[in-house]
């Protein structure tokens, strides 16, 4: 009973969203991906895998760029259509189909953006030159998958914010807070403890950093200070200042945990987006 099925409606909405996005110059988002990844690679690629701190900073910058690109992709997509959605919903369309269609489009957009980011990083030697030791498969595939998960997850986060924002203006006001939370709770800029440490589990930056660190095996790198002290102090033992972080262990469990959290958060944000829209339109 009712209108077309969930899958049919998702298909209709997907075609509409893709058609309009292309007409609204979706290539701009691809251009952003090129520009941002070139800037990130230019600034950080030279110091990658030289020492722990520079490599961590490099990966953190890349993760942040992916999150920024993802959130920016979608932050206005739903909020600008609230009146249209309400009208369509009362005609019997499914909000879940609408959100899923957006997610599908974002998946494709993010995939292309991830390819761009990945190629730029390869060209600038961001991932180093040793690709022999992947955690599960080839490290290049693992890097690419992590970039995609971060960009796509952040896009769905953007959709969620867009779903509960009343207007595009509100969404754009919320966006900096979302990004700042991601940066602060990544655990790279500051040592986290207590509530902040627990809250960090719901950030893509923490798990993205974990995945990059695990693939890159950054626990085997020495801190920058170790190199500096080695130059000044003869027979200096670098292990004195080295400290490994479990979050960056170069093993399958660490990487799968990071990827799993990214996927889980993406799913949660998608569900929250649908629920948020249902609450907003509960009278219809």
């Amino acid at each position: 009973m009712g209108n077309a099925s969930f899958f049919k409606q998702t298909h209709v909405y997907y075609k509409k969203i893709a058609r309009i996005a292309i007409r609204e110059k979706a290539w701009v988002f691809l251009a952003f991906a090129v520009i941002i990844s070139v800037i990130v690679a230019l600034v950080t690629a030279g110091d990658m895998f030289e020492d722990l701190d520079s490599t961590k900073s490099g990966f953190f910058t890349l993760a942040s760029a992916c999150i920024w690109i993802g959130v920016f992709n979608s932050i206005q997509n739903i909020c600008k259509e609230h009146n249209i959605i309400r009208s369509e919903y009362r005609q019997g369309t499914k909000l879940s189909s609408y959100v899923c269609a957006h997610i599908l489009w974002q998946a494709i957009l993010c995939f292309v953006q991830s390819v761009i980011i990945f190629i730029v990083c390869i060209c600038f030697g961001f991932f180093g030159d040793d690709f022999s030791d992947g955690v599960i498969i080839n490290p290049l595939i693992e890097y690419f998958f992590t970039i995609f998960l971060l960009t796509f997850g952040a896009s769905v986060l953007g959709l969620m914010v867009s779903a509960f924002s009343g207007t595009p203006t509100t969404a754009m006001k919320i966006m900096p807070f979302v990004l700042i939370i991601q940066l602060i709770l990544s655990g790279v800029l500051f040592e986290l403890s207590g509530i902040a440490k627990n809250a960090a589990v719901i950030t893509f930056s923490k798990w993205g950093m974990g995945a990059f660190g695990s693939i890159g095996g950054i626990n085997s790198l020495e801190p920058k200070i170790a190199g500096e002290l080695s130059e000044k102090i003869p027979n200096f033992d670098p292990s004195i200042v080295s400290a490994t972080d479990e979050a960056f262990n170069h093993d399958v469990q660490t990487l799968l945990t990071a990827w799993g959290w990214c996927l889980g958060l993406t799913l949660c944000f998608a569900v929250i987006a649908i629920i948020s829209l249902k609450i907003k339109n509960r009278d219809s």
């Binding site: 009973m1 209108n3 077309a4 209709v12 309009i20 609204e24 009146n83 249209i84 009208s87 009362r90």
Partner: protein, 512 residues
């Protein structure tokens, strides 16, 4: 001391209703109801208006009572031996005369039967009260006792073919076995109702069960199905709003109160009211968007109770266009058709959309982007988007706002055409005098609803509901626009006579 004139009561014309009766004669009978009517068993000296052929009906079983002031029918059971069931609930004795008077709504099912309606009496009587069925409606019978299954739907090849776009290609199926007849909904677009309740999967049918498939009513009785196959039946809207309140902190504010009106197919209703009188609250209540303490019946079905399945039958053309700017007109409409017209082929959808665009005069714009259209053209596409589905009621919130005079008149012409095609169209407009037939000079509107804020309780009340000529006479004005002058407060340039008109309408009197 001023002389108080006696005011003359002028009864409104009876709108009437129709009663479908199936008794021991085993043939459906349609009776017009034009006022009070008594119900009893047929016997040689019976003086009952409605005489039923059944031994379980009392000599003076019950009564239909017509209330002229509210244009409403009621039914009373006269404490009969076997009682009367309305929509499955037996009327209980209230006093020595009979039960309480129950207000009847379009589609109510009255049965004189056993207490267990799943084991009907062989001489049980079924009556369906209707304000949307015609008294000369043709009913067909189909003896299904020799079938193993009966398919019901729009497509050719169905045992029972329904000539109605609201019906799915194969809408429902009745499977017959020694255990009985089982009805299943074939995942239809608009669902199946049995005795006014939606069928979710499969349901056993009993004698005198009333099945509703789209606009067609089917009665299952003793191995026979009687059905009316009415095609795209017109709508009948009945609105009874007790009040609509909102919470503002710890205070509860009443926005509108005591608004009752009924509309039939082809009614083109103008909603007039000053700022803050409650026009938007009223249309939201009718839409079901801002549910009020109310009963909104569409062809006898309660909109609020069946909101999920019925909400798409009441469409809103909003004041501000809700269309995606960067999509083409045809793509916008095809997407709506893809979602709403389940079971239609692509060709059928294209034909339907082509007809709509042609009717609205925007066929040449179908390949334009929405953002390339003018304000008037966008409004037409917005109307087209609503027409793709099967709305019976159209509510248009200022469809003429922001348009030049010629476009306003054209927009109203279009809405009048939509009403004439069998829909109910309700319009909020601040330029009602544009809606005139240019040849006859008569208003397009068939009815006018005036809502005004009463100073005592500061909430919106009905100040008038009736036909256009009566409205002009009632307010003593020559133009519809001037009604606003009568009811608007002085600081808005009006005569501030809202209280007078509200009270006068409530008392149901007209000047003598």
């Amino acid at each position: 001391m001023s002389e108080i004139k006696t005011q003359m009561f002028i009864p409104k014309p009876v709108r009437g209703a129709t009663l479908f009766i199936l008794d021991n004669r085993k043939e459906p009978l349609m009776l017009p109801l034009r006022g009070n009517a008594t119900v009893g068993r047929e016997y040689p000296t019976s003086d009952r208006t409605i005489r039923l052929h059944s031994e379980i009906v009392g000599r003076a079983h019950g009564e239909f009572i017509y209330d002229n002031s509210a244009d409403t029918f009621y039914y009373i059971d006269n404490n009969s031996l076997n009682g009367t069931y309305i929509n499955g609930i037996r009327l209980q004795p209230y006093n020595q005369r009979g039960s309480k008077a129950i207000r009847l709504s379009d589609g109510d099912i009255l049965r004189i039967d056993r207490s267990d309606l799943s084991h009907p009496h062989p001489q049980a009587v079924l009556m369906i009260f209707s304000r949307s069925m015609e008294e000369n409606e043709h009913w067909t019978s189909l003896d299904i006792s020799n079938y193993s299954s009966v398919t019901i739907g729009r497509a050719e090849g169905n045992t029972l073919r329904i000539n109605d776009d609201m019906a799915s290609r194969q809408h429902a199926v009745i499977r017959l076995s020694p255990q009985g007849a089982m009805l299943s909904d074939c995942d239809s677009q608009n669902g199946v109702l049995v005795n006014a309740k939606p069928v979710s999967k499969c349901l056993r049918l009993f004698d005198n069960d009333v099945i509703r498939v789209a606009n067609t009513m089917l009665v299952f009785s003793h191995g026979t199905i009687f059905y009316n196959n009415a095609g795209e039946r017109s709508g009948c809207l009945s609105v009874h709003i007790h009040d609509k309140t909102v919470r503002n902190g710890f205070r509860t504010k009443t926005l509108i109160k005591d608004i009752n009106f009924e509309a039939d197919a082809r009614d083109f209703i103008l909603i007039l009211g000053g700022s803050g009188a409650g026009k938007t609250t009223l249309i939201n209540a009718v839409l079901g968007d801002g549910k009020a303490n109310a009963e909104v019946l569409l062809n006898g079905q309660n909109l609020y109770e069946n909101f999920k399945t019925m909400k798409s039958q009441v469409g809103l053309v909003p004041q501000f266009i809700n269309l995606r700017d960067n999509d083409k007109v045809i793509a916008t409409l095809m997407d709506i058709a893809d979602i709403k017209l389940k079971g239609f082929s692509r060709e059928e959808k294209e034909v339907r959309i082509g007809k709509i665009l042609n009717t609205l005069g925007v066929e040449n714009l179908k390949n334009h982007l929405i953002r390339q259209l003018s304000g008037g053209q966008k409004k037409k596409v917005s109307v087209a988007a609503q027409l793709v589905g099967f709305q019976k009621v159209f509510i248009c919130d200022e469809p003429d706002s922001g348009l030049d005079a010629a476009s306003r008149m054209q927009q109203m012409d279009i809405l009048k055409d939509i009403a004439d095609s069998g829909k109910i169209v309700m319009v909020i407009s601040h330029e009602p005098d544009d809606a005139v037939n240019r040849e006859t000079g008569k208003y397009h509107f068939t009815k006018v609803l005036v809502i005004a804020r009463r100073s005592v309780d500061n909430c919106g009340h009905l100040a008038f509901f009736g036909d256009t000529d009566s409205a002009l006479e009632y307010f003593g004005v020559k133009k519809l626009q001037d009604i606003m002058m009568e009811i608007n407060p002085k600081h808005e340039g009006g005569k501030e006579r809202a209280d007078y008109y509200i009270n006068r309408y409530k008392n149901g009197v007209q000047h003598g």
